[in-house]
Amino acid sequence: MQLSFKKRSVKPGFRTLADLSENEEGLVERIDLPVDFAHRLMELGFLPGHPVAAARSAPSGDPRVFRVDGTEIALRRETARHILLRRH
């Protein structure tokens, strides 16, 4: 498990949670966010190798609800952009 502490560097070439369309699923690769917040996200189930599916969003498109580990968790796009998905 690697954690990057840089805040903005979203690696080109990686898809992120924010790129998932409704009902699409992906596997988490890593979380590119400050460590304590990344910790909370992991406690909520956003763990490397775990599947996450995008569900409904708020009417404005943001935040979106994600299905992970049997529960639904709402995140803003700006957070979802920092959760990178595994390449197929």
Partner: protein, 627 residues
């Protein structure tokens, strides 16, 4: 697996003999929204608030367990936690309580870990943390009813052996299996051999372990909650979502305002009848005047609003218990982000529609300190239920009832709605100012777990309404009664030739007239002035006070409270009074709780001054514009 209650205690397992110790202080811990408070209420017979969203409980509550043979076991209900690393004030409370750092609370010598059985693999992650505290622990798998309904299974006995702690499958809601928790408290439950636990701090490792353990325990995940998905496809629909939202709000206002009418008229008639009865029964002396004109006119004027307030609370209870509230927070996040806050701040703001005091407590779930203070400072702008009687009285006296938007919304309900909107606008505008100046901070992320929708139970809603009614009547019987008595005395002295003076010349009247110059620019006379003074205790006191003042006037028989107001206020003055009440901070309990939660007088003093000045200026402008 209803044939499996209390499997953890099965004698056939490889267990140590039951320890005959009786625990003295037992803490209930678990992830948010897993049913801890529901279980607490069942064990203690108390009525802590439960609702269907994470973060309902934000402080610790202690109650004695209801057990036939043991009367000295304290149960502690705690806020929900995801791990032992606290990120917010409410999580800190649980952390402190578990480690014996909570002032006035002994370190627990036992733990009841409540996990949601419909979501076991994730919730078990917390079990590793809690079990490593090495306190005697009972693992409660709650929501058994929901698990079975959705086709999930778990072998509690196997799980107990995996965890090295007794496990029981219960439904705190229906009471199924809860007896086993009592056996744990009294030491009558067998404890399996302890097992090695995974290394702490590393979430992936804990999660790996949790997955393994749940597999060993034969856990089959229940099918996804179909209804939740169906409902969300409407409530979060890009078009229908907002439409439903508007319809719900419209219906709430229309019902609270007009639907409660017949009931209120019933109560009003009853209050009048009792007052008349008292007048006939008592001899004509000062005592009759005190009881009938002072106390009963004051208290009665407020009691009339009981049906309306209960109606409002009914809607709030339905919103909270169904799980819609969490969706509302998601929808509101965008707006909140614009003023520098986030969706989580919306939940306390919504509960401030009932009362600002619990709302300010509820801000404990907000992780960022500055966001939390900002939310505390704006919460009293939300229209609390104490404003409802004032608004209703004035609107009914000054605004004729006509259809406004078809049958959905009448003019009076629309006026009421605009006052609610006014409060909300003041709140977000203030947040904007605060968050771009003194409370500026980096944007904080928004993360919220969505609970599944649940059918609100008649029992839980009914009990909540009863508690509300009791609290309301208690307030009428204490604060409002007290103020009415004091006011009656002030309005009856100094005696002129042994009789009460005309009210303008009484002490109360003199006080009112002393502040009249200050409030005249807002269109208020000295009677309203007295009401403004007494309403510093609590907003609805002004209604009681006006009831008492008009009750003591000689021509009282001719006029009701509404008619009397029409004589004393112009339309401009009435609107100014509404605006004043929308903005001013007239609530001692709120100030006290703000002081406690922010840890000093700085914020409450600032808040009181700001809201007061804003109220005065806006009321002045409203009065000028309309006259």
């Amino acid at each position: 697996m209803s044939d499996c209650h209390g499997c953890g205690s099965g004698p056939q397992t490889a267990t140590r003999p039951a320890r005959a110790t009786v625990h003295r202080v037992v803490a209930i811990v678990g992830p948010p929204n897993s049913g801890k408070s529901t279980l607490f209420n069942r064990l203690t017979g108390l009525r802590q608030k439960t609702a269907n969203f994470p973060g309902v409980t934000v402080e610790h509550h202690v109650g004695k367990a209801h057990l036939p043979s043991h009367h000295d076991i304290d149960i502690v209900d705690l806020p929900g936690i995801y791990s032992l690393n606290p990120r917010s004030e409410d999580e800190q409370v649980s952390h402190d309580a578990l480690h014996g750092k909570m002032p006035g609370l002994r370190r627990p010598d036992g733990v009841i870990l409540v996990l949601d059985a419909t979501n076991l693999s994730r919730h078990l992650t917390l079990a590793a943390n809690i079990l490593s505290l090495r306190l005697p622990t009972l693992v409660v798998l709650n929501m058994a009813d929901d698990l079975h309904k959705r086709g999930g299974t778990v072998d509690a006995e196997a799980l107990a052996n995996e965890l090295g702690a007794p496990v029981v499958l219960v439904s705190a809601l229906t009471g199924e299996g809860v007896n086993a928790v009592g056996r744990f408290l009294t030491g009558g439950i067998a404890v399996p051999r302890p097992v090695e636990l995974p290394v702490l701090q590393d979430v992936p490792a804990c999660r790996q372990w949790a997955r393994q353990v749940s597999r060993e325990a034969g856990y089959t995940h229940p099918t996804p909650p179909l209804w939740t998905r169906r409902l969300d496809s409407v409530f979060l629909h890009p078009f229908w979502g907002p439409v439903v939202f508007v319809l719900v709000v419209g219906t709430v206002f229309q019902t609270v305002f007009t639907g409660a009418r017949p009931l209120m008229e019933g109560v009003e008639a009853l209050v009048g009848w009792v007052g008349g009865g008292l007048r006939l029964m008592l001899p004509d002396n000062w005592l009759r005047s005190l009881l009938v004109d002072g106390v009963w006119s004051g208290v009665g004027a407020v009691i009339v609003f009981l049906p309306q307030i209960l109606m409002l609370f009914l809607f709030i209870a339905l919103l909270e218990d169904s799980g819609y509230l969490a969706r509302a927070a998601v929808i509101a996040d965008k707006t909140m982000a614009r003023v520098g806050l986030q969706g989580k701040s919306f939940i306390p703001l919504l509960s401030a529609y009932a009362c600002a005091v619990p709302a300010i407590m509820a801000t404990r779930t907000i992780e960022s300190k500055r966001d939390r203070i900002a939310t505390i400072l704006i919460a009293p702008f939300m229209t609390c239920s104490a404003r409802l009687p004032v608004y209703t009285l004035i609107i009914a006296a000054f605004i004729p009832e006509k259809p406004f938007i078809g049958p959905l919304l009448g003019t009076r309900a629309a006026a009421m709605l605009s006052l609610y909107v006014l409060g909300f606008i003041a709140a977000v505008a203030t947040a904007k100012v605060l968050k771009s100046s003194v409370l500026k901070s980096e944007k904080t992320p928004f993360v919220l777990e969505m609970p599944p929708y649940r059918m609100p139970t008649l029992q839980s809603v009914g009990l909540r309404l009863m508690d509300r009614a009791a609290a309301f009547l208690k307030r009428a019987g204490t604060v409002i009664l007290g103020v009415s008595v004091v006011l009656w005395i002030l309005a009856s002295i100094p005696l002129v030739n042994g009789a009460a003076p005309p009210i303008e010349h009484s002490l109360a009247g003199t006080l009112g007239r002393a502040i009249e110059p200050v409030i005249k620019p807002l269109g208020f006379n000295w009677k309203i002035g007295i009401g403004l003074i007494t309403s510093l205790a609590a907003r609805e006191v002004i209604v009681g006070t006006l009831g008492t003042i008009y009750g003591m006037e000689p021509d009282k028989d001719a006029v009701g409270l509404q008619k009397a107001l029409q004589n004393d206020l112009t339309l401009g003055g009435a609107v100014a009074l509404l605006v004043f009440f929308a903005f001013a901070m007239q609530c001692m309990s709120t100030l006290a709780v703000v002081r406690r939660e922010t840890g000093g007088w700085k914020w409450p003093v600032l808040q009181f001054t700001y809201m007061g000045v804003l109220a005065y200026i806006c009321a002045f402008v409203a009065f000028r514009l309309l006259s």
